[in-house]
Amino acid sequence: MAIEGGWRLRPRHHRQQDGAEHSDRRRHGSHRLKRQGGRGFPSACLIEEWIRVTSVLKLEQVNKSFGALRVADDVSFDVPAGQALGIIGPNGAGKSTLFNLITGNVAVDGGRIAFSGRDITRTHPMQRCLMGIGRTFQIPQPFEKLTVFENLLVAAMFGSGASEAEAADACADILAETGLVRRANVPAGGLSLLERKRLELARALATQPTLLLLDEIAGGLTEAECGQLVETIRRVHGGGVTIVWIEHVLHALTSVVDRLLVLDFGKVIGIGDPAEIMESRAVREIYLGIEV
Amino acid sequence: MNWLDTIVQGILLGGLYALFAAGLSLVFGIMRLVNLAHGDLIVLAAFLILLLVTALGLNAFVAALVAAPLMFAVGWFLQYHVLNRTLGDDILPPLLVTFGLSIVIQNALLEGFSADSRRIPAGGALETASLDLGAVSVGVMPLLTFVSAVAVIVILNRVFYGTALGRAFRATSDDPVTAGLMGVEPRRVFATATGIAMVVVTIAALYLGTRANFDPTIGPARLIYAFEAVIIGGLGSLWGTLAGGIIIGVAQTVGAAVNPEWQILAGHVAFLVVLIVRPRGLFPRAAD
């Protein structure tokens, strides 16, 4: 299933090779550029930008309740550019809801969400995608009547603004990377659950996001598949993409993320170095179920 | 102008619409089946009652009692053998099949009963009898209609939200395959639901047929009010359907009181206004 040539994140079509940022739509994307073109010295203006946009994602006292149930309780954290943040927590802690708040699928009750320095608290989900937030859904939501390949094309053409020809190449590569190439021309409605999950990932990648939100994509994979997935995510991350990953398969998660955040009853009860977090009493008790 | 009377007549009219809508509320609200033949099925039931009244000389109410199980069978059969095949996420197959059915019923009735305008005799005095309540006088038949509507809705509510059968109805409408894994026979459950809806249709037919003339082609005209009542009430909410019927009824009589030109329009406008304010109706189901 390995692919020759490998897949890498290519610059969005409208981004100029010399590093000058012309797109008004995606000004915030420049931090990633810097990592890609890291060999040279960044220009002064880019440094400015770099400083201004140290955190790609910033949540300030975000609150959300479903009826009497508090699912986000004064959640505040930020994710610096290029970081990979893992989120763990018991079932029902509010992890997926947090993603829905970040992508705008669920409206916040209070608080502020900023993306690359811009307030996006009230921005439409579609706009957020165009700004560079890509996501997977925990319960896959493929376009069932479109083929797998067309599913990706949609993401690539609309999400990253690529032309159809460019998008087709990128999609084909992503299909190969995610092991779906065999199923490229099958309507997505005929996929098995795990194939659907891969499609979720592939589609999110095809939008060429600067921030990638992954919701439980490693569950149900065999060891080998899991290893491959981790490789993929590492590579994407290496390409400069900021990642937030919700996962219950801890060994996969901890092998990628730089920081770990623990959520319980909608509250952030810990954030920091993965190893430390995993050792913490709270996590061992409420999440791993190890008696202490 | 007598506003009290206008409102009271509107509420009573709402009872009639709610009765038309209650059967629809079951199939549309619970199975998400847009039944365009609903109006024609009411007319079919009315002809059935009429047939029983004229052929056997039964009283209209007794005839309706006899017709109800027959209509239950019709509904059961229809759902089991025809409509079940159209269910799914797509609203079009049921739309088309029931539209075809509507045409078939209308024209079959035309062939069988001609285009004559008929009426079910409700037993002389009852049709024109009324209760004088001082400022307003309330017709006995409209009052009976309203009371029947409320009774139908109370009973249906108990069945659908308080029994294992009702649970099976709702589960099947969500996901027939998984319901099958629970031991629910989806085809039978839907057939039973439609059968029950047809019993309600028979009750509606009794009042449709006794209050005014009907002919084979009169069904679709009332269908739109029934749909409006179901939608502004909120999908799956039977009380909502009653409320929806009353809103449309009152809007119509108030509109007419201003000027009869606005009577029907006012009902539609009330529907539009409710949906602009609450796009999912007054009492939407939590999960949809």
């Binding site: 699928n105 579609m126 376009f143 949609v154 993401a155 021309n185 | 099949v97 409006e228 029907i264 949906l275």
Partner: protein, 364 residues
């Protein structure tokens, strides 16, 4: 690293479709020349077929591709027709210009109605559009200058005095009523060809793909950057425009209008739905097949009174039950033939072994 050879290819055209493009062109040309060699009665039949086809294509675009199942298209037929009548009868405008005005009026009407209808989804949308159409009907029934509920007729001679009718009459050497049939036929042919062309073009662009995505899952589509709302608006207003044009054109030929006729849900929406679904929804070929079947049935059965409608209803039911993807779907599934392919097939590269076993299925 950049030298990776890419041998992926994306294909949409099929051999049948390339051949068909030529055939289609020939058909249009033959259609344009038809008045030279066919009689008037055939011309009128073709006119009805073509106008119904336009209605069917625009409803299909709406329901089959955008997932907006409207039961209220008669609003635009009627409104377009009434606008045309007002232009001709009240303001003395030439009917051909008035047809355009009818289309524009319908498009304008679609803006406020869309504002309302887009708050609704699925079955709600269907019923909502129906109610809106009723409201428009009831409002126009109050327009006393055009006869209120009674209706009105075009001034006699209005169609005979249409621009170019006289020229056509001379050219063909026919009576002016025949000449106006020729003109309306040409307009219908033009409208049908342009509608099909425009729909196909739209579907082949990225917007077409976006449309399919939104219809399948609007939440996921939004999360991938597809502007579903804008797409829906474009489609809704566009199909209202086309429907309005068709309505105005139809009533130029009928020459008499009344609210019940112009806003008939059965004539302008139910039969259209019937046509599309019988033929195959979500395909461009479907409505074409459907409209032909419909007319054959009508001609065969129309003299049998209520039996005609009864049989029509039964056929609709049977097709829906046993060939839910319509007659064209049935054919296309068996043969894999598509004249208007829109599916993008990825070929080349390593190991795309399976291709879809439903290869014939378009996004429908």
């Amino acid at each position: 690293m950049d030298a990776t050879v890419r041998n992926w290819k994306v294909e949409t055209r099929t051999r049948a479709s390339t051949g068909f493009a030529v055939v289609a062109l020939v058909l249009v040309v033959v259609g344009l020349l038809a008045p030279f060699f066919i009689g008037r009665s055939m011309l009128r039949d073709l006119f009805s077929i073509l106008t119904m086809l336009v209605l069917a294509q625009s409803w299909n675009l709406l329901a089959g591709y955008a997932g907006l199942v409207s039961v209220g298209q008669q609003a635009f037929v009627g409104f377009g027709a009434y606008a045309m009548f007002a232009c001709v009868s009240l303001w003395g405008i030439d009917p051909v210009t008035a047809i355009l005005a009818g289309g524009v009026a319908a498009a304008l009407l679609s803006i406020p109605t869309g504002f309302f209808a887009f708050r609704l989804h699925g079955a709600y949308f269907a019923i909502g559009t129906w109610v809106v159409a009723e409201v428009v009907r009831l409002l126009l029934a109050q327009w006393k200058a055009l006869g209120g509920g009674t209706g009105t007729s075009l001034p006699s001679g209005a169609t005979r005095d249409m621009a170019v009718v006289e020229a056509i009459a001379e050219w063909f050497g026919v009576r002016s009523s025949h000449a106006s049939d020729i003109l309306t036929y040409w307009l219908a042919l033009l409208l049908a060809a342009l509608t099909i062309g425009a729909v196909y073009k739209l579907l082949r662009t990225r917007q077409g793909l976006g449309l399919a995505a939104v219809r399948d899952n609007h939440q996921a589509a939004a999360a991938l950057g597809v502007d579903g709302a804008r797409l829906r608006w474009v489609i809704y207003v566009g199909s209202a425009f086309v429907t309005g044009l068709a309505g105005a054109l139809i009533y130029v030929q009928t020459a008499r209008i009344s609210p019940d006729a112009a806003f008939s849900v059965v004539d302008w929406t139910a039969y259209v739905i019937f046509i599309v679904v019988i033929g195959g929804i979500g395909t461009i070929e479907g409505p074409i097949v459907g409209v032909l079947v419909f007319f054959v049935l009508q001609n065969l059965l129309a003299d049998y009174g209520s039996w005609y409608l009864l049989v029509l209803g039964l056929i609709g039911i049977l097709v829906m039950l046993f060939a839910p993807r319509g007659l064209w779907g049935l054919f296309s599934d068996r043969t894999g033939i598509q004249f208007f392919p829109v599916r993008r097939i990825l070929t080349g590269g390593p190991a795309i072994t399976e291709s879809s076993h439903q290869g014939g299925e378009p996004h429908g």
